[in-house]
């Protein structure tokens, strides 16, 4: 009993409960048909949200006001440039990944340079940065839509033992993020900064270095996600990152990471990502129009937040 109580005290449990309920609600309507397909699709699409969500989580953990709005633009630019560089050649797959990561590093450093040098709030700094990155992507995207190399395209769209490869990549990245967060000094540092930046500085934590690394990490994860998403969907599109702006924030917060910072939660991102995808497919299955679908999505998100409840702030 005590153990059960402990499980329910975890902030991430709510997003999983919600995801499971929505899954059953969808499968019931189809009479059990398509349960496997639904789970497969949910894992695939949740994986993309998880990858960007992880980066956003590290940034949000840094404390109030820390958020990265350049995620969609970074995804678009990385996807566009990587596909252009690979130019449908299987031999260039690694080079494409490297250029995506390098772009992520450059954007992350640029973001933090703006925040630090101009002393502007991260939300505005990353917004301005995203405008510039988006323009660069528009400029780079000139010409025909380039297909991903065959090997990469088949890797991103196929499965291993019934589990989508993309989901496996996301699980590996999540494990790495968990180790980083819970088992390294860096993880302790970002939590400390999120709880009190002043106290963190007093104890001698390299605050600026840690924040720089965090913004870079977020941009790199977004770039990798853009690389994978462009390969998965058969080419880069200029609006391919658009829905991931709200998504990356939503999955982090619904997953139980404290918006006030200093307390992050990786399992919750998985629950929330699955939940967000399943809600949309449930409403699609029920045959609602676009308007009703949007309204219900919003109300369901609100209901989950209310059910999970605001954490009582200990003063």
């Amino acid at each position: 009993m005590n153990r059960l109580h402990l499980v329910f005290a975890r902030p991430w449990i709510w997003s999983f409960i919600a995801a499971v309920i929505v899954w059953f609600a969808t499968v019931l309507v189809t009479g059990g048909a398509g349960a496997l397909g639904l789970s497969h699709a949910a894992l695939t699409f949740a994986a993309f949200s998880v990858i960007v969500g992880l980066g956003q989580m590290f940034v949000i953990t840094l404390g109030p006001g820390n958020i990265d709005l350049s995620v969609p633009a970074t995804m678009t630019l990385a996807g566009t440039v990587a596909l252009k560089l690979m130019d449908v050649q299987d031999g260039m797959i690694i080079a494409g990944l490297v250029i995506a990561i390098l772009l992520g590093i450059a954007i992350g450093i640029g973001n933090y340079a703006l925040i630090k040098l101009l002393r502007i709030p991260p939300i505005i700094a990353t917004l301005s940065m995203s405008f510039i990155v988006q323009s660069t992507a528009i400029w780079a995207n000139r010409g025909l839509r380039i297909k991903p190399p065959d090997m990469l395209a088949s890797f991103t769209t196929s499965s291993f033992l019934g589990i989508p490869n993309i989901a496996i990549v996301a699980v590996l990245l999540s494990l790495a993020a968990w180790v980083l967060l819970e088992r390294t000094i860096y993880g302790r540092w970002i939590s400390a900064i999120g709880q009190s930046i002043f106290a963190a500085r007093m104890t001698g934590i390299p605050v600026d270095g840690t924040r720089l690394v965090t913004y870079t990490l977020c941009a790199v994860l977004a770039a990798v996600c853009g690389y994978l998403l462009a390969s998965f969907s058969g080419g880069a599109a200029l609006n391919m990152g658009a829905e991931y702006l709200l998504m990356s924030i939503a999955v982090v917060v619904i997953g139980g990471t404290a918006v006030a910072g200093g307390d992050s939660n990786i399992p919750g991102i998985w629950g929330a990502s699955l939940f967000m995808f399943l809600v949309v497919s449930m409403l699609n299955t029920y045959g609602f129009g676009a308007g009703v679908r949007l309204i219900l999505t919003g109300l369901i998100i609100l209901a989950v937040i209310l059910a999970a409840g605001g954490r009582k702030v200990v003063r």
Binding site: G65, I120, L127, Q134
Partner: protein
């Protein structure tokens, strides 16, 4: 004469606006006329109203990520019900204000993060807007059209309206006791509560007022564009936040400036016009807007540093 730090905060946004305006006039002297100014600042009126609404939310340390969809929703109501059946239209808008007040209370009572709650609400407003206008259409109410196309003598309407918005919100936020309490919540919620005020009621009122200004923004927008669609104002979420920050506001601490917010909105609008005068390739339009944002904020930093050095000497 010594200028206080607070005055300086107020002057910097104005200086950046004047500089940008000077650059526009230098490149296109014909803009220096009644019609030219009207064209330059026409779209500033709805943006300024949305920025003021965002500023109210920010003054209690919250952030409204549903601003763009809510303004779109209001625009759709204005172009449909408010035009064809004014009573129902007004009832819908009043209900929307009540929803805003409820959200304000909910966020406080359950200690929820405003970002997530308004994110959820943005889906709801967007859905309602799509239900009302699945395709772009509708028609602006005659009075809204008349108001937004009015031609007052000497000074174009966009300027007159901006000044009126700035003065009215300045009186509400910076001069009234209500405004002091609202900013007090942003500064130190507990001290306001300890002094015997109802934080819940004040937050509800702040959100309701923000909803009211956002509705005005939607109506003004429809008055300009004559018809509406469900995605008409999605950019306003980010524009309104940027406008408040450009105007010298802060995310926390109840440090907001209504006059600054209006000036910030004007600066952002002007940045768009500036770029079309520069004949920048469409590829780089968005990027240049980002660059202008960075330059203006860099200027602000330079001014601040200069001021600090002068002070320490």
């Amino acid at each position: 004469m010594r200028i206080s730090a607070e005055t300086f905060r107020q002057i910097i946004p104005a200086v950046s606006l004047v500089l940008l305006l000077g650059a526009v006039f230098y490149m296109q002297p014909r803009a220096m006329s009644y019609t030219g100014l009207n064209l330059l600042f026409n779209l500033a009126v709805p943006i300024a109203l949305a920025t003021v609404a965002q500023m109210l939310i920010m003054s209690v340390n919250d952030l409204d990520l549903s601003m763009g969809t809510f303004v779109s929703f209001s625009a759709c109501v204005a172009a449909t019900y408010l035009q064809s059946a004014p009573l129902i239209g007004v009832a819908i808008l009043l209900a929307a204000i009540a929803v805003y007040a409820t959200i304000g209370m909910l966020i406080h009572m359950r200690e929820l993060p405003s970002i997530v709650v308004t994110l959820g609400m943005s889906f709801v407003w967007g859905g309602l807007a799509v239900l009302m206008l699945p395709q772009p259409g509708g028609q602006a109410p005659g009075w809204a059209r008349w108001l937004m196309t009015a031609k007052p003598p000497l000074v174009p309407l966009a300027i007159v309206a901006s000044v009126v918005i700035a003065v009215v919100t300045h009186l509400i936020v910076s001069r009234s006791s209500f405004g002091v309490l609202v900013r007090g919540i942003g500064g130190n919620t507990r001290s306001v509560a300890r002094a015997g005020w109802s934080v819940l009621g004040l937050r509800a009122a702040t959100y309701a007022l923000a909803g009211f200004f956002a509705i005005l923004s939607g109506i003004a927008l429809v008055g300009l564009t004559t018809s509406a669609d469900a995605n008409i104002a999605l950019r306003y979420t980010l524009l309104s936040i940027a406008g408040v920050i450009l105007g010298g506001g802060e995310f926390v601490g109840g440090r907001v400036s209504p006059v600054g917010a209006v000036i910030g909105a004007l600066t952002l609008t002007l940045a768009g016009s500036f770029l079309s005068f520069m004949r920048i390739s469409p590829d780089w339009q968005i990027g240049a807007q980002g660059a202008i944002l960075i330059i203006v904020l860099g200027l602000r930093l330079a001014f601040n540093l200069f001021e600090k050095r002068r002070r320490t000497r």
